[in-house]
């Protein structure tokens, strides 16, 4: 018996036959250190937010009950549709981008090529930097006139691309920064999963004549499926909640071309003080994320089977 068990074992009393065992408060106390903050800061705001979404409220005074009017308003608000269309586009660019590049980088580092140790650090490094810093750095990199990207393209005779100032390119510019930022976590998770694949399995397939493509397709990818599913799920949720990069790089513009639901919720709540409406949008986004996540996990399971 360890010292902790010895300490708390003495506090327990064996119930007599037929007697209801006494309530062990000490267990609840330890759970409370996590549960209380979780209930207060996570669950209570969700419940309160749901209530506020059914009211008209601007912090001062009592919320005025208006039923589902905020939700009806959201359906006819063109910026809501623009923002939700944009996150679908963000998801279609960022999720595959992060997953595929994360896998490619993990495969490279797992091979232990020269400098793969340095590469491991470099690939993960952006993930520990805040999204705001990433956004600011990429604003400079993607500047139409003086940015590094356009300078490089210019040296190949390609004319400057308005990465952040055109309605056609702004979403792509923000996506590029997001992929670079999010890549680190996907890379580390996939690298860990790669290192868990038994070496003898790989060696056996090589002896049996499997080339690199067949090894990837029939050995590596099936083993990575649970982690890939997790990476895609986490990345999808993260992308659907994209905010900081949008706020710093384009502020949702031009003409809403790069806005996102969270960015719109932020402006509705903090700029216009429409907390009821903002809450309705937040609850709607929660439902969208939940549905998409379930559909995506179901799809991956179906594909695997």
């Amino acid at each position: 018996m360890t010292s902790v068990e010895a300490k708390f074992g003495a506090l327990r009393r064996t119930p007599v036959d037929g007697e209801k065992p006494p309530l062990d408060w000490i267990g609840y106390l330890f759970v409370a250190f996590f549960a209380a903050p979780f209930l207060i800061f996570n669950i209570a705001p969700v419940i309160f937010g749901t209530y506020v979404s059914l009211t008209e409220w601007s912090i001062i005074g009592q919320p005025k009950w208006i039923g589902f009017e905020n939700y009806r308003d959201a359906l006819t608000d063109e910026w809501v549709w623009v923002a939700f269309r944009n996150i679908i586009l963000y998801a279609l660019i960022i999720v595959p981008g992060v997953t595929i590049l994360g896998l490619v980088f993990a495969l490279f580092v797992n091979k232990s090529y020269p400098l793969s140790g340095l590469a491991r650090t470099l690939f993960f490094a952006p993930n520990v930097v805040s999204a705001t810093v990433i956004g600011l750095v990429w604003v400079y990199l993607l500047d139409t006139q003086y940015g590094l990207f356009n300078n490089v393209l210019g040296s190949f005779g390609i004319s400057a691309i308005p990465w952040l100032t055109s309605t056609d390119w702004a979403l792509i510019g923000v996506s590029m920064a997001s992929i670079w930022w999010d890549l680190g976590l996907a890379f580390v998770l996939l690298l860990a999963a790669l290192q868990d694949i038994p070496r003898d399995l790989i060696e056996a397939s090589t002896v049996d004549g499997a080339g690199p493509w067949n090894r990837l397709r029939f050995i590596i990818l099936p083993h990575l499926r649970p982690v890939l599913s997790m990476v895609i799920t986490l990345q999808l949720i993260s992308t659907l909640r994209i905010f900081s990069q949008v706020y710093v790089m384009t502020n949702g513009g031009p003409a809403g071309a790069s806005s996102s639901p969270i960015h719109y919720i932020y402006s509705v709540a903090l700029v216009r003080n429409l907390f009821g409406y903002a809450s309705a949008l937040a609850i709607s986004l929660f439902v969208v994320i939940l549905v998409l996540t379930i559909v995506q996990r179901f799809a991956i399971r179906e594909m695997a089977s």
């Binding site: 139409t144 006139q145 309605t167 502020n251 513009g253 003409a255």
Partner: protein, 452 residues
């Protein structure tokens, strides 16, 4: 039996450091301390019995340093009088929300910064305290303020009370890069005074690479504040009004508003003196990537500090009447549970206003106080008159104020993310015609006016 067991369990561990009771007691004490700490720390009254006034400000750039100096000066002058101001910095975008939240919980700051005409909701909800009676009690000389500033501090739809002590008057005026002027062979002493001259100057200073503008003769961005405020100024000069004088009709003379949108579009597409590709307008002008840039006096400290060779001129007359954007900063008092605090707070605000010479010469803007403007050293203090003068003299025609209604923030022309800016972005990007945008703007603004 149960009692005995509990007691036994406790005594079995009596000699040890950890027992159930100890944990519970310790947890309760820790939780109580954690919960009480903000209240103990945040007390507005100093332990020694001195009066502490809590002030929130969003000024975080070079103007923030001068404002900090003003507060320090107040505290130095009052260190033996038992009154001190505690300055806390709050992010500009979150300022209103935090004030509302603090007021709702009875812990609002005593006073803070405000922009005249944008506070209708707070006035309606009683968050900001009316100052008409209080100002008489503390001897604030209202007659020393310009009429414009006092009228801008009032909300006609809410009893026409005065809800702010005006501190600085600001307008948008063009800053001109003198190196570009010399390079283009223009006469620095005859800055553009009309729309035609402005375009002429813009063309002379614009640099192109093929069909692409690489240096904007007239600095603009493809979205955000700059094209929005430019449209607002030009539209009002052409005869457009966002709201009628009685605040009942939105978008008076919409044709002028549409013409102003076309004027802005022509800068990019017809005259080719501007590019939509600028992402940071302040940086672009500071690094010589724009030649004429209309902005406010808050930029002076930065550009003078970096040694940029520029001067400021008066906004040109593009339409039928010379006008430019007007903004007034001032100090407002927030609702307190203890109403006895108002007098001491307004006395402190009065001191800051009476001593705002530093603020309106080095800090930002022109003074709303006649006694300060009449001081012989007003023109020689602070930055050189060639860069500061237009911001003082140009106040004469800075007559495009905020619309003091609940939906005021949606009317403001100096915004990069409000309803107006978002609608206009569609026009600048070519996804909406000026007529479509004007129709949508009119509809929304009219709803705003109807709400009150």
């Amino acid at each position: 039996m149960k009692k005995a067991n509990k007691f036994e369990a406790g005594s079995a561990n009596a000699g040890k450091s950890l027992s159930r009771r100890t944990i519970l007691k310790g947890s309760a004490a820790a939780a109580t301390t954690a919960l009480a700490t903000p209240y103990l720390m945040g007390s507005p009254v100093l332990a020694s019995g001195h009066h502490e006034i809590l002030h929130w400000s969003w000024l975080a750039a070079s103007d923030g340093e001068i404002w900090g100096q003003m507060i320090d000066d107040f505290n130095d002058a009052h260190k033996d009088k038992g009154v001190q101001i505690r300055l806390e910095l709050v992010n500009f975008e979150q300022y209103d929300t935090k004030v509302l939240a603090a007021t709702a919980t009875g812990r609002a700051p005593d006073f803070g910064w405000g922009i005249a005409g944008t506070r209708a909701q707070m006035v309606r909800d009683g968050v900001i305290v009316p100052l008409d009676d209080l100002s008489g009690e503390v001897g604030l000389d209202i007659g020393d303020f310009s009429e414009l500033s006092i009228s801008a501090a009032r909300y006609p739809k809410y009893g026409n009370g005065m809800y702010m002590v005006p501190l600085d008057l600001m307008s948008l005026q063009p800053e001109i890069n003198l190196d570009h002027v010399a390079e283009a062979g223009l006469d620095v002493n005859s800055a553009p005074a009309t729309g035609e001259e402005l375009i002429e100057w813009g063309k002379a200073m614009t640099k192109m690479d093929g069909d692409t503008v690489t240096r904007s003769g007239i600095l603009m961005t493809g979205s955000g504040v700059q094209p929005t405020v430019t449209w607002g100024i030009v539209a009002e000069q052409m005869g457009f009004q966002r709201a009628s004088a009685d605040l009942t009709t939105a978008a008076v003379n919409p044709e002028a508003g549409i013409a102003a949108m076309e004027w802005v579009l022509a800068l990019f597409d017809e005259h080719k003196v501007s590019t939509r590709d600028i992402t940071d307008r302040y940086k672009a002008f500071g690094t010589g990537n724009g030649s004429i840039f209309w902005t406010g006096p808050w930029t002076l400290n930065g550009y003078v500090g970096q040694g940029l060779n520029f001067k400021t001129s008066l906004f040109p007359k593009i339409g039928s009447e010379l006008k430019t954007y007007f903004e007034m900063g001032g100090l407002e008092l927030y609702k307190q549970q203890d109403e006895g605090r108002y007098k001491a707070t307004l006395e402190a605000v009065k001191w800051l206003s009476d001593n705002s010479f530093l603020w309106t010469t080095v800090g930002r803007g022109a003074s709303p106080r006649k006694s300060i403007l009449e001081r012989p050293d007003y023109k020689t203090a602070g930055h050189d008159w060639s860069v500061r003068g237009a911001f003082v003299e140009g106040m004469e025609f800075a007559t495009i104020p905020e619309i003091p209604v609940m939906a005021g923030p949606e009317f403001t022309i100096y915004s990069g993310g409000n309803f107006l800016a978002r609608k206009l972005e569609g026009v600048w990007a070519g996804s909406k015609t000026p007529e479509e945008a004007m129709a949508q703007i009119t509809e929304r603004w009219q709803e705003g006016l109807d709400e009150g």
